[in-house]
Symmetry: D2
Subunit: 293 residues, 4 copies
C-alpha cells in the first residue's frame, strides 16, 4: 500500500536522533517504614526516557527490527521500579540507562529525565501522619545521561515561587534613549526559581544534596539587600557551592516577576507603597552559571 | 463607515447581562506589623468584578453614556485597596460592591470574585522571616454578590491536592454489562479539593473560618477508612459543619485522581502493591452539598 | 479498620449531588463514506457524564450497592459509541442519558457534557484529503440534561479567537474619579468567543445549526463599526436569532483582549497607530443573553 | 541595611550568563496595503531578547553601571518595531541584535526568540475580509543569534496538530521481556509537529521558506503508508530539503499521540476498529535531524 516517493534530487542522511517514552507517571509507595513500621514514604515522578543509537534502518527504510517499542519502554520503567527504585531518582536513572543500553541491540546511549513532585506529610492536630500527604509546589528535576558505564547527572529545583517585600532595589543602571524606568531602593523582589546543577563527584546522596541546596537558596534569598537579581543570583551560587562540595557548578534561571507600585495618585489617592500590580508579563529574565574558579 | 444591518424579521431583546474587569492582580503589603513592628504581611489576590444593571442603551443602540469603562473598574479596585483592603477579601468585596452600585448610575447589583494565593512565611534556619515568603499551592476563593445593602458571601478552597496511600477501598458497587473494574479494599485515594461554602451569618471573621475549614478537612481525610469518595465527602461536610457554626452548607467537587496498580506480572515481575500508574485521565468526579438538616 | 467518628453535635444531610466520569477522550472514525466510499469522517470529543439520584446510602453510610462505578461509566461511553454515535454529540448525549437512567437503579437524571474538537480536512496540493486532518482551534461544546424522557440541550462555541484592526471604538462613556482611559474611535477589537445557546425546538440538526451560528457570528463581527463590545454582542445575537429559528436565546462571554497602542513617543519615536502591546491581563469581560422578545 | 555575607571557603566565578526581557507581546498593523489600498496585514509575535557579555561587575559586586534595564529592552523592541519590523521576524531579529550590541557597552552577543501567531483572514460570505482575522493554531518560531555582524538563524513550526485515520502501522519491532504491545498495520497516526531548521544561506525570504516547509510537511504526511513515526520523519526531512535549497538541516520532535482501539469486546460489543481512546499520556517521543549528506 506504500506509495512510491519521488526520487529526490538531493542527498540527505539522518543526523542525531533519539526516541523513547515521555510523561510516564510513576508512583511508588514504600510501606512499613521505620521508625515504628507503619510509616509510608512515597515517590511521585514523571519520567521520560530517550534512547540514542544507530536507528538508520528504521528511519531510512522503515525496518523496525531493532527498535524497542515505546510501549515497551513504559513497561520497563514500571517493571524496574518494583525493585530498582529504592532511593533517589538519579540512582534510578542510572539503572534505567544500564538496562536500555543492554537491552536494545542498537542503543548506544540513553537519557532519563525526571520531574519529581514534592509531597509534605500531612499534619493533622500537630502530628505528622503515617500515610497522608499534601502536594507541594516545588519540584525536584533530574537528568541522567550515559552509555551504561559512565554517567553525567544534573539535578534541579523547579517552580519554587519566592518573594520578599523589601530589602531589594534597582539603581545605577545605564540610561539611554529607551530608558523610562525610575530608580528605586525599595521594591518587591519575586521570582519562580529554576535551578540546575552539575556534580564534581561520580555519585553521592542526591536527595540530601537537594535538601541542602533548597535550604541554602532560601537562606541566601533573605540574608542581604539585593541591588539586582544578578547579584542575588551570584550570592546564591556562591553560598551553595560553599555548603555543597559535591556540586561543581549551578545554573539559575530567574524570571523577574515584577510587582509594580500602582499609580493611584492620578485618581486622587495616595499609595504609601502598599498597593502593587502583580504584572504577569513581560518579565525580565536573568540566567547564569556560578562555577568553581 | 458603519454598514447598515439588514432589518431582522424577528424581535429580540437583551436578557441578563453583566460586564466588568477580570484578572486584576492585586498585591498589598502590610508593613510594620506587630509583634515587633518589623513584620510584613501580604495579600496576593486576583479580582474580577461584574456589574449588573440596566445597560440596554449600550447594547441595543451603542449609547455608552452610563457605562463605567472596565479600565475604570480596574483603577477603582487598586485605588480602594489602599485604605479598604484591611482584612479578608470577603470584606473587601462588600466595599467594592457598595462603591460600584453607588458610582454607576445604572448599576443595580455587582459581584466580586477572588482567588487569593496563599504564601507561607519563609523559615530559614528554623526562624520565620519578617518579609520573605514562599508560594503555596492551595487558594482561598470567594464570591461576594449584592445590591450594596445586603450581600451573599461564598468562600472556598481550591487546588488543595491531597493523597493517602492506604485506608481507602472501593467494593460492593453495582455490577452490570459494562462493569470490568475489580474490587479493592486497599487503594490509593487522591484528589484535588475544590470546596465552596455558604454562611448562616451575615458577617464573621472569614479568614478564621477558612483556616478552621482547611484544618478540619485534612483531619477528616485521615481519620477513617474510606469506603468511597462519596462517604468521605459526607464525613468532611459533617465535621466542618460541626466545628463551623458560621457555615450553613458546603459543596465539594472531588476529581478522583486514580492511582492504578501497574500490571507488571505480565512481564514476569511481581508488583507487591507498590508501583502505580498515576492516571491523568479520565477521572471520576464526585460532587455534592452537605447541609444542615 | 474504620475508626469511629465522634458523634457530631449538629444534624446534617446530603444536598444536591452528582457523580460520574470526566475527561473521557472519545475518538470515532467513520470509514468508507460517500461520495466515493473512501472518505473518512471523524468525531473527536471529550465527554463528561454526571448522574443525579438518591445516593444517600453511599454518602451517609458508605453503602455502595446501588452505585455504578465511574469506571463502568467510562466503559459505557465507549461501548455505546460503537453503534450510538452516528451524528451530533447532542443526539449521542440523549442516548447516554436514557441509558444511565435505565441502568442505574437510583439514577433519576443525568447530564452529558461535550467538548468536540474541530478538525479541518487536510488540503495538500489544493485537493481535500480522504483521511488526513489538521486540528482547528474552535470547539463545539454541548450540554444535554434530562430524566431519560425529556431533555434540555445547550450548544456552544468556545476558543474562537477573532480580531479586527479597525472599525471599532470606545467613546462617550461615564467619566468619574477613577477614569483615566482616553477615548478612541479607532482601536483593535479582539476577543476569544465563548457562546452558548438554548433551543426553541425539541430536536433538530444540531451540527447544521452550529455551522450557521459560526458563520453568522463571523459575518456580524465584520459588518459594522463597533462602538462597544456590548453593542457587537447584541448585534451578533440579533443576527443569529434571525437566521436560526431553532434557537430561543444565546449567551456570549467576551473577554476584551486589549491591544494597547504603545507609547513610543516618550522615547522619541512616533508611533503612527501601528505598534501595539497585546495585553495579557487584566481584561474587560462582557457577558449577556440575547433572547426572543 | 545590607547584612554581611560570610566569607566563603571556596573560590567561585560567574560562568556563561545572559539577561533580557521575555514574553513581550508585540502586535503590528500594516494599514492600507495593496492590491487596493484598504487591506490590513498583521504581525502578532511574542519576543524574548537575551544579551550576553561581560556582566561580572553586576553579578559579583552589585555594580549596575553597564546594565541596560530589562524595561529598556522592552521599550526598545516596541520602539524599533515602528520602522524596523517590515517583513519577517528573522530580519527583525537581526536588527534587534545589531542595536543591542551597539547600545550596551558590555554586550558582546545577543539572541532574539520569536513565537509568531498565525492568523487567517476572515472569510465571511466566501470573500476574504480586509481587516478581520481568525487565530490559527500553528506558530512560526524563530531564533536569531549573533554578535551584530554575523548571525545564525533558526526557524520553526510549532503546535501543528495533524492526524490520519489509516495508512499507518507499527510492526516487526523488537520483542523482549517487557513487550506487550500487539502489532498492527492499520492504526491512527497523530502528532503535534515541532520542527526547527537551520539555513545554508546567509539570508533569504524567511516567510516564503516557512510556507514551503509547511505545505511540504502536510503533503509528505499524506503521501505514503507510514511503517513508523521514524520513517515518516525521515521522509518529511528528505522532501523538505529537496524543495528548500535554503535549508541545511531540519529537526523534528514528534510526540506520538496514541489513539488506542478501545476494548469493548469485554463488555459484549464488537468494535469494528472505529472507536478509540485518545490517550493523553504517556506518549512516544521521536526526535531527529535530517541533514544534507
Amino acid at each position: 500500500m506504500t506509495q512510491p516517493t519521488a526520487t529526490p534530487a538531493v542527498k540527505v542522511k539522518m543526523g542525531a536522533n533519539t526516541y523513547g517514552k515521555a510523561d510516564v507517571r510513576l508512583f511508588k509507595v514504600f510501606r512499613d517504614q521505620p521508625p515504628y513500621e507503619q510509616r509510608h514514604e512515597i515517590k511521585d515522578v514523571w519520567v521520560r526516557v530517550a534512547m540514542e543509537g544507530d536507528f538508520d534502518a528504521a528511519h531510512v527504510s522503515g525496518d523496525n527490527t531493532d527498535l524497542l517499542a515505546t510501549d515497551t519502554v513504559r513497561n520497563t520503567i514500571y517493571g524496574l521500579a518494583v525493585d530498582g527504585l529504592t532511593g533517589s531518582v538519579e540512582d534510578f536513572g542510572k539503572l534505567l540507562i544500564r538496562h536500555f543500553v543492554q537491552q536494545g541491540p542498537k542503543v548506544k546511549r540513553a537519557a532519563a529525565y525526571f520531574t519529581e513532585h514534592q509531597w509534605g506529610r500531612m499534619a493533622a492536630g500537630g502530628q505528622e501522619h503515617d500515610h497522608a500527604f499534601v502536594r507541594q509546589m516545588p519540584k525536584h528535576t533530574a537528568v541522567v545521561e550515559g552509555d551504561g558505564e559512565t554517567f553525567t547527572v544534573k539535578s534541579g529545583i523547579d517552580e519554587l515561587y519566592i518573594l520578599k517585600t523589601t530589602q531589594s532595589g534597582w539603581e545605577g543602571y545605564l540610561k539611554e534613549q529607551f530608558t523610562t524606568l525610575p530608580e528605586t531602593n525599595d521594591r518587591i523582589l519575586a521570582t519562580v526559581v529554576n535551578a540546575i546543577w552539575e556534580y564534581a563527584v561520580e555519585s553521592c546522596d542526591y536527595d540530601a544534596v537537594w535538601q541542602r541546596v533548597y535550604q541554602q537558596l532560601l537562606t541566601t534569598f533573605t540574608d542581604h539587600y539585593s541591588p539586582s537579581m544578578q547579584n542575588t543570583l551570584y550570592r546564591m551560587g556562591e553560598a551553595i557551592l560553599t555548603v555543597c562540595p559535591e556540586i561543581s557548578r549551578i545554573h539559575f534561571s530567574f524570571p523577574n516577576r515584577h510587582h509594580i507600585r500602582y499609580n493611584t495618585e492620578r485618581t486622587g489617592i495616595e499609595n504609601p507603597n502598599t498597593v502593587f500590580h502583580a504584572d504577569a508579563e513581560p518579565y525580565g529574565l536573568i540566567e547564569g552559571w556560578v562555577e568553581r574558579a
